[in-house]
């Protein structure tokens, strides 16, 4: 085991005399990175095991494999007991689940703190080996297909989002749906599953986040006891294809009898924390100025003042290993066409490009972002989620720790420069979703 790398304080500078959120990080000899967030307010602890592999790391033609493996991880763990792991976790009053994204796969459980051993032992076992009977694969494939029906096939809005997403990227694998295309889910084989687990599920490709009522010393002891014996796999860092230069704006339109209220969106390719750390902080601040609730520019202008829309805003997600998107959305007031709405959003973007943001807007946005860190610390598992996702998408613990200061260092000039580089029509996709014609 290595020595302590960092022991940091997220909430430094907060005016109240609250205990800070204590974060410690260390690494086991086998490469497993461990982060401990100590918070003793409730006698509860959360384990989140994050693997640096997601759907964007699948081989061509195997979309949905990362997610199918996630499902099968609940079937393929040996407990040494008569019952499976999920039953053991239920018996100790625990909750568990998992999620797969483009960039990562994470497994998590929450239990009362003196049962942490149980969930760590079980999680370590399914890292060490996955055994799936062929019959289980076929059942779980059906479950995943039903999940796809629920999430996508039964919702025209979701089908449209999937198509817009696929059109956003010319080559980058974020174009594929995390759950997979139906025909590719149907073709996945047991060997695909086992090979995927062997290739990616090793201690040297994972981050273990333990959050809640535990000390760093206990985390160290338990991590070494349960995960320490699993051999390093020698897993190489991920390499992904590069997104080529985009030179033509794209536009998709769909009509559906299921859609009762039209909606409009536009996404621009943008850097994230992994591909442009400083730009990402500026984009965070900008997203609050433009889309922060009912006082952001877009809502103020389109909804309150011009009354063209019932909703308007933007989104930005910086936690991505590859390039990401900065998106705008709006839904029209009765009788307003999507073309009018689009022109109104473009007018706001043009005003931003011409005039930038005011110092007061910047200051307010920065204050809101800094306060959001304190408010999010109310939920221990929420902090675990934020920190885990950041670590497996290319940020360091140091970068996460300094997030409030880096956000505070963003200037109005930074915002104007980043806006000019991101909001270029040739690197955008526009989507229009309307009700069927009567």
């Amino acid at each position: 085991m290595l020595a302590v790398a960092v022991a940091v304080v997220l909430l430094a500078g907060s005016r109240s005399e609250a205990d800070p959120l204590e974060i410690a990080g260390f690494r086991l000899d086998n490469g497993l990175e461990v982060v401990v967030i100590s918070d003793h307010r409730a006698p509860v602890v959360t384990q989140m095991l994050w693997y640096r592999v997601g759907s964007a790391d699948e081989e061509p033609g195997k979309s949905g494999l990362a997610h199918l493996v996630e499902h099968l991880m609940f079937r393929g763990v040996r407990t040494g007991e008569q019952v499976d792991a999920s039953t053991l976790i239920k018996r100790i009053g625990g909750e568990e689940n998992a999620f797969t994204s483009h960039d990562y796969t994470a497994y998590h459980q929450t239990v009362v703190s003196n049962r942490l051993d149980v969930i760590m032992q079980l999680e370590a076992r399914r890292m060490a080996g996955l055994e799936v009977p062929a019959a289980d694969l076929e059942i779980e494939r059906k479950v995943v297909l039903e999940e796809r029906f629920v999430r996508v096939a039964n919702s025209d809005a979701a089908r449209f989002r999937e198509q817009v997403n696929a059109a956003t990227w010319l080559a980058y694998p974020y174009r594929l749906p995390v759950i997979g295309w139906e025909h590719e889910i149907r073709a996945l084989e047991l060997d695909d599953v086992l090979e995927f687990h062997r290739r990616w599920y090793g201690p040297d490709n994972a981050v273990l986040v333990l959050a809640g009522d535990l000390t760093e010393a206990r985390a160290r002891e338990l991590a070494r006891r349960y995960y320490g014996a699993i051999p390093r796999r020698g897993i190489a860092p991920r390499s992904r294809v590069r997104e080529p230069e985009q030179v033509v704006p794209r536009r998709l339109a769909m009509r559906s009898p299921q859609v009762g209220q039209p909606s409009w969106q536009r996404r621009y390719i943008a850097p994230g924390y992994a591909t442009g750390l400083d730009d990402a902080h500026a984009l965070e601040v900008l997203s609050v100025v433009l889309g922060g609730g009912t006082t952001g520019r877009l809502y103020r202008s389109l909804v309150v003042e011009q009354k063209l829309a019932v909703s308007a805003g933007c989104w930005y997600r910086g936690d991505a290993l590859g390039p990401t998107t900065f998106g705008f959305y709006a839904s029209p007031s009765p009788g307003v066409g999507l073309d009018v709405l689009e022109a109104a959003v473009e007018a706001e973007v043009n005003r931003l490009l011409a005039e930038g943001v005011t110092a007061r807007e910047r200051d307010t946005a920065v204050r809101r972002l800094r306060r959001s860190v304190i408010l999010e610390s109310d939920t221990v598992s929420g902090s675990a989620r934020i920190i885990g996702a950041a670590l497996v998408t290319g940020r360091s613990l140091e970068a996460i720790r300094s997030w409030p200061e880096r956000v505070a260092a963003v200037t109005v000039d930074d915002i104007r420069r980043v806006a000019a580089s991101v909001f270029r029509l040739e690197r955008s996709v526009t989507g229009e979703l309307r009700p069927s014609r009567p």
Binding site: R15, K90, I92, V112, V118, K142, N154, G260, I374
Partner: protein
Amino acid sequence: MKQRSFPRWQCLAVLVMLAWPSTAFALDIIPVTSPGGIRAWLVEDHRRPIITVMVRFPTGSVADPAGREGLVHLATGLFDEGAGDLASDAFRASLEEQSIALGFAARRESLTMSLMTLTETSDLAFKLAHLALSRPRFDPGPLERVRNQVIAGIRARRERPGTITWRTWWTSAFPGHPYSRPLRGTIDSLRRITRDDLLALAPDLLARDGVLVAAVGDITPDRLGSVLDDMLGDLAGSPVRVPVPEVAHARPGAVTVVDRDLAQSVIVFGHDGIGRDDPDWYAAVILFEVLAGGHGSRLRKELRETRGLTYSVSAGPVLFDHAALVTGRVSTGNSRAAETIAHIRAVWRDFAANGPTEQEVHDAKEYIKGSRALRLASSPGIARTLLGIQVAELGIDYLDRQPAMVDAVSMHDLRRVAARLFRERELAFVVVGRPSGVEATHHAPEGPPPG
């Protein structure tokens, strides 16, 4: 397949762990009575500079006048859109620029205000909450804007499979009863609502009598007491009392199919249940856990884990002040809808005839007792728990007593209650999609009038 072996001691460790008693945890709930006589429960915790307050009023959308459906829900969208001397712009800016989260949510028989603030902005937060509760403006500009937003939401949702299924379920379960009226209203009823309706409603709805309060975080009992008087002291005394008739499911056993061109059938099912004050309630809680409590539960095992018929299946009690149902939901490919329904029926029959097994009951009891602490790992989670205990009048020491109450339920009770509670022949089904092999016994009733 390659075999992987584990050291024996790891297997032993699991056994040892399971033999440990669960953590004795205590939540120190302080009963607070303000100088003005308003009562609250407080969990005081100064380790984070955050204060959370939830205030629950005992009337909800059942107070909507006939023809003005959606009035209470609309009001919840307007309380924080301008109050006192602050018009909407200034009010919203005060909240958002100071990161104060103030929100209102209506249910059928309650309305809850939630407030979360940093300590440093809490004076302003309590002042704004007081204004929203006692002097909402309902200015014409925000009224039209929020009305259009609610209408847009209705339009956006009304043809979604889940919306159609639930709408059909409630209108066929409780036809003509306030519980089946659309909580958000209809496009027509929303258009009829005037500013005067809202001004007349507010004092009737937000009154002091029957109010329940939970507070968590960086605040002392003394300060909370004075805050409560400032925030709630000048509200009207008694809220409007809306007579709601007792009601039971109108069509036990009915199978209703709503035709839609969907890949998957969405199914809601259920029948009458028992209420929170029923002496068999704790037996029912254990039975619902065995029936549908996630992994390994009867429904999940039969439908998902062994047959892959669905991604998710749920079932549990749905409680009103004057009705109680057992209700479940599942979705499955159209070609497998009949098979899914047959398995749900079989689970019901077997449960009623044989009850749960000893092992199932052991696991369910351990889960219910062991997972209590998990709901208390955030300020809103604690506040919701405190409110829930007060609503059900369980007593301030309920969390301490609950394990013994769960343990006291015997196998004999559970078998008896299973036979009483799960009546396969009364199961009603609403199916939306193109299910093959499902024979409808009823036509779908008309939904709310289209706009």
